[in-house]
Symmetry: C2
């Protein structure tokens, strides 16, 4: 049975691949799993029909064979558990790959989301210009730690895993800030992930929604 995911009908990032359906598309492409997409307006996301699937009125959701899931982390993990290619088989390596997924979502992403909140929800506030360097300092602290751990390895722990997928998608949100370029091994890590055919297919598919043109 082909799963159905939801995505923005008009992504606020204009097809840059930062919306969270991108994580799910990428995981599905890595897994070689075809999928269908149901597009939603901002208004439809907050209506009862969608809230029944997603209590926080967001995208993406995932529907398959009577199962309804929300939260991109949970959906990507579900895909990784049920398809080869995203989690190692060896139990300890598998647990460590899962740990990196949580590190992306709960250690790396919160300060990055603060930057986003400052730039969008508080862009008109008099304090934002002065706050941005403080937020960036907190992000740099984490980036520095991640750069040390990654060193000159290709991926965070052995082969590419769902931990890398989630970390790379979290780091991509920093691209407009230029901060990633301060950590050459992290910039190379993101570029390495973006060169994966599965990433490219997923990126093209979400961009096609925004442009209205079929993926090249």
């Amino acid at each position: 049975m082909i799963p159905t995911i939801t995505a923005f009908d008009s992504s606020p990032d204009r097809g840059q691949g930062l919306a969270r359906d991108m994580r799910v598309r990428w995981a599905l492409e890595e897994a070689g799993q075809p999928y269908e997409v149901r597009l939603l307006s901002f208004k439809a996301m907050k209506e009862p029909a969608h809230r029944a699937l997603h209590p926080f009125g967001q995208i993406p959701t995932y529907e398959e064979d009577g199962l309804v899931l929300f939260e991109s982390g949970a959906i990507v993990f579900h895909i990784a558990q049920h398809h080869a290619g995203l989690l190692p088989d060896e139990p300890h390596a598998r647990a460590r790959a899962i740990a990196w997924m949580f590190a992306a979502l709960n250690t790396m992403e919160p300060p990055i989301l603060e930057l986003q909140t400052a730039k969008f929800a508080e862009s008109d506030k008099p304090w934002t210009a002065e706050r941005l360097p403080l937020i960036k300092e907190r992000i740099r602290y984490r980036l520095g730690e991640l750069a040390v751990r990654l060193g000159d390895a290709d991926w965070l722990d052995g082969a590419f895993s769902v931990g890398d997928l989630m970390m790379v998608h979290t780091l991509q949100r920093l691209k407009p800030s230029g901060m990633l370029g301060e950590y050459p091994n992290l910039a190379a890590y993101v570029a390495r992930a973006e060169a994966r055919p599965a990433f490219k297919r997923a990126f093209a598919a979400q961009l096609a929604v925004f442009t209205g043109q079929p993926p090249g």
Copy 2:
């Protein structure tokens, strides 16, 4: 083999149970799994010996039989997978319980962490008093959605699960703000979790570290 976790030797919350070792202790108690604790100073957490276990120099870590894990979400999930009592057996219910764990860590916790950052890292800034209501507004938006979904149920999706454990521990951080009391069903949900014998044992154990007295 008895696992070893790490915790603060002097918790910054003075034993209120907000440090992230509490999540792991609680999961281990729910699972009926004995554990050992290695206490660390702030200084020791940032040194190479601990960084080898935890790339971000934090607590908790989890060591068992050659496996080293970091990130409280990953550790709690690992415990839930390997012991009865924290995840349903039925595959769809299991996936939904995991989704709630991610919702706690990646949807509910980020705005709550912003409140903490404002109160501690930016307490001396001239803008903080004016920012706090904005942050609280963002938290209330999520609390309102969660309260609607919970309704008059005891737990988020059927029986108590690792999703409830993680959500309750995330909500507990709001206690000093008084915001939880604005949502009576969420306050009752947290109180219901705190009445669990496993929670009480875990809470007493972490408090005992701070007071230096054995758990009552």
